[in-house]
């Protein structure tokens, strides 16, 4: 890197620190009240609970570990602890010295968690904090929504909210604000999950029984996160019941699950172990079918409280899918993660968390008939240290640093027998190191105006230990002017990089800022800007990503993606907070988005650079969310009007570019996206829920002419994504029945009956064009994945 640039950047960062310190200077000398807030019944820490000093504006929300800290002048106060769905508690506190108080609060009802009739606090519009473009979903809300096959799915529930969509039924991952799937950072207990789908996307890897919180950042990504430009999905596992033994489970048509939780070490610790397994393979076997499809998940978590200032957490996730077609083909893939965390309170204002995280995604493809195995993986080790300094009521500071070491193994082919015609082959392993350091302030400038500003400095090194091709004229892709097509460049030699060397280094400054201005008691306007860098890329030239797609780091030929997002929003609670309205508009553009030349071949490709060009993408939209948060009837209407496009000029390869360098729709562009979700609680026994979804069809490429060649009618295709599938819509219904039980019976059960796609709409997952094999006439064939799908699930808890 240019050294003078580096110096200037450092100086800027330094100015920034000075500014922060200056703004801290006028903080008064006060006393601090801190501690944790937990659920009385199971000891789970509560994220997002509110702690307020009655009659003042001094208040704080608990962090991911249930910790709070607030500072106020000496005096006597009434502390109000509230968390919706829980009974509010008040306690007198005399602040004459720094105090540590832990609070325990109880749920309103002693029923199953699914019956929470009021929304969680954060599901209301948050007015006082500058945080915007975020969605926190209550697990209870997720569980009550009707879903396909009765398989509770966090990702499918998130897609009911504005700005979040998928790429069609039965496809993995999700898209946020017109961003690609690989632009989402998905974290399960801080560990990176590289593939969120089971069965190619029909289900997600998250077992809702083991999950405590789900928070999605669609924009305004806080400075403590980095590495993905579109969104952060922060999923946290439960800690495990520290009060008594509990079991939760369910039996569905696709899978069954069981979660066990219990205290350890005299309530100083606890553990959770949750398992889920599908059983389609068992049925297939029973019917004498050689084919097999299955998945399982295992979630583990344990924690130990050393003392008031130190707590340890250990968590893990293991999930796997496997497929077998008779004896000829088998494939399996899965994520494994582990995380050891240490919460430490330096003092009652300075909270810290140190995490050591490991994460791996791998797949294995065995083709028995071709006598070879194909294995590929991505592994990372991550060390991060995060701090939160609760300086004063007006000023809070987050800072920290992280380092991630990546090992990409894009593929190895191993012949499985001596007669195999396949030669062994290893694609180049790639190694990289990503680091980040950040500082972020939450600053209440006045009663009405609050601000959040921060800076992240990230760096990425592609490490040596491999040879890289050199290309004629340094062009891995060349433009064939005569034929107007892009072709693979010619390798003219190799440069070998030793293990100690770096192939290429990048660094970026990523500022984030947002502002909230509270107009009155019930409404606020907010605005934000964020810049994020992404150094690793998922290679996928198909309409929908598959588990076999490979991640690749930035390097000589691939630059990091850089994205700027601007957002404004209006937030309002009305009818005594019974309703809330959130309206946001956003614009974002991303540089260095990889695009694939026509006819690109990514499978087993060692020189990815010969298949791609670098382009840009942009997305803009308007999101509207109206929610009813309280009462027997709750739910929301979400509407998104948006556009998502990309373009790829020829650049150094020459020529106009892919699709003649014109902007074209990404396959996750949806002009209109309406989701309505409602739940009605009739009485303690019966409740009902429904979803309605309407979306503009997915952009696709249809033929625009035909010609005969080799005695076959060849379809000639129109420009990329210039057509659309028919509009997508459906209705889902579910009924929840809790049989009468004695109020103090230990076992509590419920039945969930669901119908997915109630009016049996044949939504096109794809439309394929070809010749009828009998008549030779061209025809269009629609594949619809789900017809009307009934389901039944039994859930229990004791």
């Amino acid at each position: 890197m240019n050294q003078s640039v580096f110096k200037i950047r450092l100086r800027c960062s330094w100015c920034f620190v000075l500014f922060l310190v200056a703004s801290i200077m006028y903080a008064q000398e006060d006393y601090t009240l801190s501690g944790t807030i937990t659920d009385k019944s199971n000891g789970e820490t509560l994220f997002g609970a509110s702690v307020l000093l009655k009659g003042t504006t001094v208040g704080v929300i608990t962090n991911e570990y249930g910790f709070y800290s607030l500072t106020a002048p000496q005096g006597s106060y009434t502390v109000i602890i509230s968390y919706l769905g829980y009974s509010e508690i008040e306690q007198e506190v005399t602040l004459s010295n720094n105090q540590q108080i832990n609070f325990e609060i109880s749920e309103f009802s002693t029923q199953l968690q699914e019956v929470v009739v009021t929304a969680d606090e954060p599901e209301r519009a948050v007015l006082k904090k500058p945080e915007m473009s975020t969605v926190k979903m209550n697990i209870a809300t997720v569980k009550q929504m009707p879903v396909v096959m009765g398989e509770v799915d966090i990702l499918k529930s998130l897609q009911m909210l504005p700005g979040v969509t998928n790429n069609g039924e039965g496809t993995g991952g999700f898209h946020v604000r017109g961003g690609a799937q690989d632009q989402n950072l998905v974290l399960l207990d801080e560990a990176i999950i590289y593939n969120t789908s089971h069965m190619f996307g029909f289900f997600s890897v998250f077992n809702a029984d083991a999950i405590k919180d789900v928070k999605l950042y669609k924009g305004g990504i806080p400075a403590r996160f980095g590495g993905r430009v579109s969104s952060v999905l922060d999923v946290r596992q439960k800690d495990g019941n520290s009060k008594n033994f509990a079991a939760t489970g369910g039996i569905g048509i696709i899978s069954s699950r069981l979660t066990l939780e219990a205290p350890l070490f005299k309530e100083k610790g606890s553990f959770l172990i949750a398992g889920r397994r599908s059983y389609a393979d068992v049925f297939l076997k029973a019917f004498g079918n050689d084919n097999s499809v299955s998945f399982y998940d295992l979630n583990l978590k344990t924690n130990y409280t050393i003392n008031d200032n130190n707590r340890l957490f250990l968590s893990g996730y293991f999930g796997r899918d496997s497929f077998k077609l008779g004896e000829t083909f088998k494939s399996s893939y899965g994520n494994s993660t582990g995380n050891l965390r240490w919460n430490h309170l330096f003092n009652d204002k300075l909270f810290s968390n140190l995490s050591l995280i490991g994460s791996k995604y791998d797949y294995d493809l065995g083709l028995t008939f071709a006598e070879f195995d194909w294995v590929s993986s991505i592994t990372n080790y991550n060390l991060k240290y995060d701090f939160k300094y609760y300086l004063s009521d007006k000023f809070k500071l987050d800072f920290g640093l992280s380092g991630i070491y990546y090992d990409f193994d894009p593929g190895q082919i191993k012949p499985t027998s001596s007669t195999s015609a396949v030669n062994p082959l290893s694609l180049d392993r790639k190694k990289a190191f990503e680091s980040g350091i950040y500082l972020n302030a939450e600053h209440k400038l006045s009663e009405k105006l609050s601000m959040q500003y921060g800076l992240r400095y990230s760096a990425f090194s592609r490490l040596g230990g491999q040879a890289m091709n050199d290309y004629a004229n340094n062009q891995p892709v060349i433009y064939n002017n005569a034929l107007d097509i892009y072709q693979r460049g010619t390798a003219v030699g190799e440069t070998n990089f030793d293990k100690g060397e770096t192939i290429k280094t990048f660094d970026n400054l990523e500022p984030r800022i947002s502002l909230a201005y509270q107009l009155n008691e019930n409404s606020a306007i907010k605005t934000g800007f964020s810049r994020v860098a992404q150094y690793i890329h998922l290679l996928s030239n198909t309409a929908s990503a598959t588990p076999l797609d490979v991640w690749t780091p930035s390097g000589q030929f691939i630059d990091p993606q850089l994205s700027n997002q601007y957002a404004v929003g209006y937030f309002r609670n009305f009818k005594e907070k019974m309703y809330s309205l959130e309206v946001e508009a956003y614009f974002k553009n991303t540089d260095n988005r990889i695009d694939y030349i026509d006819g690109s071949d990514l499978i087993g490709q060692n020189t990815i650079e010969t298949e791609i060009l670098s382009g840009e993408s942009r997305a803009y939209g308007l999101e509207l969310l109206l929610r009813k948060n309280e009462g027997n009837f709750t739910g929301w209407i979400a509407y998104t009007l948006s556009k998502s496009e990309q373009r790829t000029p020829g650049g150094s390869a020459g020529g106009l570019g892919i699709n003649n360098g014109n902007w074209y729709n990404t396959s996750y562009d949806r002009t209109h996206d309406i989701s309505v979700s409602g739940a009605y609680r009739l009485n303690d026994k019966w409740s009902f829920a429904a979803n309605v979804v309407f979306q503009t069809g997915r952009p696709v490429t249809y033929p625009n002419s035909q010609y005969s060649y080799e005695d076959v009618s060849i379809a000639s295709y129109a420009p990329r994504n210039s057509d659309r599938l028919p509009a997508y819509h459906r209705l889902d219904l579910s009924v929840n029945y809790k049989p009468n039980k004695k109020p103090n019976a230990r076992l509590k059960g419920e039945w969930v009956l669901g119908i997915y796609n109630a009016y049996a709409r044949k939504n096109a997952a794809q439309i394929s064009f070809g010749q009828n094999i009998d008549t030779g006439v061209n025809e269009a064939t629609r594949l619809s994945i789900f017809g009307i799908v009934p389901s039944i699930t039994y859930n229990f808890k004791f």
Binding site: P703, R720, G776
Partner: protein, 281 residues
């Protein structure tokens, strides 16, 4: 490999409630273009003198007539190394023929077509095809252990970069099956290339090979450029689904020198080919 992935996904989908049906779809309409099917294929063991080139027009996608002959063009092929010219004679049905073509291994040929006021040109090199050393049937390989496959055995030349096109024509089937292969993972090895027909259990429209049935096999040695072209065509012929690459307009090697925007479909290929057939027992 993409096919295996697709196959798995179809299996997964079929466990659920997926359904396929033929529907009416409105598509865009491109302008009419010249289609050049200039395939000079020298059958191994013959003199290769008789060759033909087909010229047609493209039509709207759902038109039932995809064969619209182009007449009145002048068609010429030149051997670039020795300057020999071969004039193809208009048969007034879209076919242009010669009986004087001289195929030479590794020679480069140029095509020139003048149609209307526009000139189209292309270049291609003739590549030698290795001999088929064995032809037999089996059931062990393939997706299904119980159905018949036809095996074609040949030895890939030692240097990397060989590409093959296989064309199979079946009894009572309208459409041929095309497959393309390269020696990327199998360079220099003895290769056992097999074909199997998966039965369609739902419709019974497609049947596996039966004893007594004959399959016609053509094995072409092709250039890398042509492989890149035909590979995409074949992939797109099978229909484009969620897990296929985004379908693209595939451009061949025939350049319109007069008006580049009015490009032609099709390809000028010069190959050597083994033609044989196999009757199942």
């Amino acid at each position: 490999m993409q096919n295996y992935i697709k196959y798995t996904i179809v299996l997964v989908a079929s466990i659920f409630f997926s359904c396929e049906d033929v529907i009416d779809v409105e598509v865009q309409n491109d302008s009419e273009r010249l289609v050049i099917e200039a395939s000079l294929d020298w059958e191994k063991g013959t003199n290769g003198n008789n060759q033909s080139i087909e010229l047609r027009k493209s039509t709207p996608f759902f038109d039932t007539t995809s064969n619209t002959p182009v007449t009145g063009a002048s068609v010429k092929v030149t051997n670039d190394s020795n300057g020999d010219e071969f004039i193809f004679i208009d048969q007034n049905n879209g076919t242009y023929t010669t009986d004087a073509f001289v195929p030479i291994i590794d020679a480069t040929y140029s095509l020139e077509i003048i149609y209307g006021a526009e000139v189209y040109t292309a270049k291609e090199t003739l590549i030698e095809v290795p001999d088929i050393t064995d032809l037999f049937q089996g059931t062990e390989d393939g997706f299904d252990d119980e159905i018949l496959e036809a095996h074609v055995v040949f030895t890939d030349p030692p240097e990397e970069g060989n590409n093959y096109l296989f064309r199979y024509d079946f009894e009572d089937e309208l459409l041929p099956e095309l497959e393309v292969g390269d020696d990327e993972f199998i360079n220099g090895n003895e290769i056992d290339w097999w074909i199997e027909i998966e039965e369609d259990e739902e419709t019974d429209e497609i049947e596996a090979f039966q004893p007594g049935e004959t399959v016609a096999i053509e094995m072409y040695a092709i250039s890398t450029a042509y492989k890149n072209y035909i590979e995409i065509l074949i992939e797109q012929m099978e229909g484009v689904d969620l897990f296929s690459s985004t379908p693209v307009l595939v451009k061949g090697n025939c350049v319109n020198e007069t008006n580049p925007d009015n490009y032609a479909h099709g390809y000028f290929r010069v190959t050597q080919v083994n033609k044989t057939s196999y009757t199942f027992e």
